[in-house]
Subunit: 328 residues, 2 copies
C-alpha cells in the first residue's frame, strides 16, 4: 500500500501539464489520474502508465484521490468546477480573477463545508505568493505603501486582444515594469504612480498580407482597457520570428513594501520573481499547496482556504524538527 | 474595558525600545508595562504613562498581559528567560543562535506545554522572514539551490571583535554581499560559492594614540573565525567621523532560490531586505508576530512555535474576509 499523497489532475492544458511535471519533482506525491472533458483516448500524457478518464465520471474515484488539482481556467471552468468538485474532493485551484475571489470563496466554502473537504483556492503567484508578500509587508511595516509590478512577462489576455485586431495574423504582448518607477520605490520614495508610470506594453505583431501597419498600430495603441492607458510599443515582425523568438511564456514581477519603522527609519522589503515559464511556476506552487491541503484536511481544517490560511511548514515534505534545524 | 491586545516588554535595550515604537504603529495593541533587571526608576521610556517594573516581580502581572515580548539577548538572556517566562506568559522572542534553536525550542516547549501558553521563538528577519523564504523557495522549487546573502549591514559581533584588538579605540564592521556573486545567482547559474566569494568585510577603525596602523590591520585581517576567511578592507578614520557617519544600524540581505521547474525552465525567486535600522525592523516583526501568538493561544495552539507554524493571516489586524478582498 502506497503512503504517497494520491493526486488527480482535472483539466489538461498548460497548467495540467505543468502539474504533471511538478509532481515528478515531489517524491512524496503520485499522480493517479488525469480527468478531461475531451475524449480521454485523445490525450497523450508525458508520464507513462497514468490513466486518463472522463471528467464527468470523476465522482466514482473519490476514494482513490487525496487531493484533486483543478487546472481549468478562471473565466469559464472554475466558477462551475470549483464548487462542484469540492463536494467530492479536497481541491487546490489557481482561481485568479481578483475581483471575484470573495464570491468564488463563498461558493466553494459552502460546498466544502458541507462535504468535509478542504478547498484551497487562488493558489499561484498572483494571487498566491504575491498576496503573501503583500500581507507580510503591511503587517510588519504598518506605516508604508505596497507596490506590485508585473513583468517582464507575456500577457495572454493582451496577446489575445492584439490578435483580434483587423489585419493582424499573429502576435504577442509583453508587460514591462518601468525601471525608473521601480527604482524610485526601491529607494524608499513612496511615490504616487499612475498606470502609465508603472508599466509599459510591448507588442510584436505579424501583419496579414496587404494590411496597413499604421492602421494596425493605431488600432492597438488606442484600444480602451487594454492599451489606451499605457505607453505601447508596436513592433512588426514576420511569422518565422514570432514562432522562433516568442513561443516561451516568461513572466515575473515585484512586490515591494516601503515603510518607516518607529523612529522614522526607512525599511524596504522586496519580493521578486523571474520566471522562465509562467504556467510551470504556477503549477509548482499548486503542487506544494496540494501537500498542505491534504494535511489541513487530515487536521480537520475543512472548507475554503487560501494561501493566507496555510501555515508555511505544511508545504514541506520535511518534518517540523527538520525544518527548524535546517531552515530557521 | 479595553479590547486591545495587552503587551509587555521584558528587557529595554535597542530591541525593547524598537518594540515600544512599533506598538505605537499598531492601534489594536497597547503597551501595558516594561520589565527590566535594572532599577526601574532609572529607565526613561519614550511613551508617557507606561509603568516600568522589576523583572523579578513579573509573575504577579500574569493576568494583566496577553503577550510578553522578550527583548533580551540570545547568548545570555533568552536561554534562561525563554523557558522561565513561558511558564507564566504567552511569549515572542528573537532567539537567533541558529545552531542552538533545536535545544532552545525543546526547553521553551516543555515550559509552555506545561503552562498552556504559546511561545513563538526565533522571530525576526534571520531567523524569521528569511527562514520563511528559504522554506517557500524550496517547497515551490524542489529542484534548485537556496542562497542567503547578508548586508550591506553593520555586524555587532564583528564590530565588538575589532574593538578588542590592541591599539583600537573604536570601530565598526560592515558585511557586504559580493555583487558579482549575487548577480550570478540572480542569473540562474547556481554556482558553488566559497565563504570568501559570497561576502566581504569592511572595517572603519579609530586608532588609539600611538598605535601602529599596519599592526592593527594585520591583527584584524588574520583574526580566525571573524576575518581570516574573508577579504577584509580596513579603513582608518578619526573618532568624530566614526560618531557622525557610523552610528546607524543598517542591515539587510537576500534569500534567493534558483531552480528548474518540470521541463527545465529557469525560475528565480528573490526576497530582499534593505533596512535603515536593523533593531527597529526586528522589533516590527516581533510585534506583528505578537498578534499571531495571542491568537494562536486563544485557538489552543500552545507550546513552542516558530514562524513556520504561523498561518500568515494571523499576523494581520484585518478580518479574513477583508484580507481575501484586499490582498489576494
Amino acid at each position: 500500500m502506497s503512503s504517497k499523497i494520491r493526486v488527480g489532475i482535472a483539466g489538461y492544458g498548460n497548467l495540467g501539464r505543468g502539474v504533471e511535471l511538478a509532481l515528478a519533482q515531489n517524491p512524496d506525491m503520485e499522480l493517479v489520474s488525469v480527468f478531461t472533458r475531451r475524449d480521454p483516448a485523445s490525450l497523450r500524457l508525458q508520464s507513462a502508465g497514468v490513466p486518463v478518464r472522463a471528467l464527468d465520471q470523476i465522482e466514482q474515484y473519490r476514494n482513490d484521490i487525496d487531493v484533486l488539482i483543478l487546472c481549468g481556467g478562471s473565466k469559464n471552468d472554475l466558477p462551475e468546477q470549483g464548487p462542484a468538485l469540492a463536494r467530492w474532493f479536497t481541491t487546490v485551484d489557481s482561481f485568479d480573477t481578483h475581483a471575484r475571489i470573495p464570491e468564488y470563496y463563498a461558493a466553494v466554502d459552502a460546498a466544502a463545508q458541507g462535504a468535509g473537504t478542504t478547498a484551497l483556492i487562488a493558489v499561484g503567484w498572483d494571487p498566491g505568493l504575491f498576496s503573501l508578500n503583500r500581507l507580510y509587508g503591511e503587517c510588519v511595516l504598518p506605516v508604508g505603501q505596497t507596490y506590485t509590478f508585473w513583468g517582464k512577462g507575456l500577457s495572454q489576455g493582451h496577446s489575445d486582444a492584439i490578435r483580434r485586431v483587423a489585419g493582424v495574423a499573429g502576435g504577442v504582448q509583453y508587460t514591462l515594469p518601468i525601471e525608473a518607477a521601480v527604482q524610485r520605490v526601491r529607494n524608499g520614495e513612496q511615490p504616487e504612480l499612475s498606470t502609465r508610470e508603472k508599466h509599459k506594453r510591448q507588442c510584436f505583431v505579424v501583419l496579414e498580407q496587404g494590411a496597413d501597419a499604421d492602421t494596425v498600430r493605431e488600432a492597438i495603441v488606442t484600444m480602451p482597457d487594454y492599451f489606451a492607458d499605457y505607453d505601447t510599443e508596436v513592433n512588426f515582425i514576420d511569422a518565422e520570428t514570432l514562432a522562433r523568438d516568442h513561443a516561451a511564456m516568461p513572466h515575473g514581477g515585484f512586490v515591494i513594501r516601503s515603510g518607516q519603522s518607529g523612529s522614522g527609519s526607512q525599511q524596504v522589503v522586496e519580493y521578486a520573481l523571474n520566471l522562465g515559464s509562467n504556467p510551470e511556476f504556477t503549477s509548482s506552487v499548486l503542487v506544494a499547496y496540494a501537500r498542505a491541503a491534504y494535511r489541513m484536511n487530515k487536521n480537520g481544517q475543512t472548507g475554503a482556504q487560501t494561501v493566507l490560511d496555510v501555515a508555511p511548514g505544511l508545504l514541506s515534505p520535511k518534518t517540523p524538527a527538520q525544518l527548524r534545524k535546517e531552515l530557521l
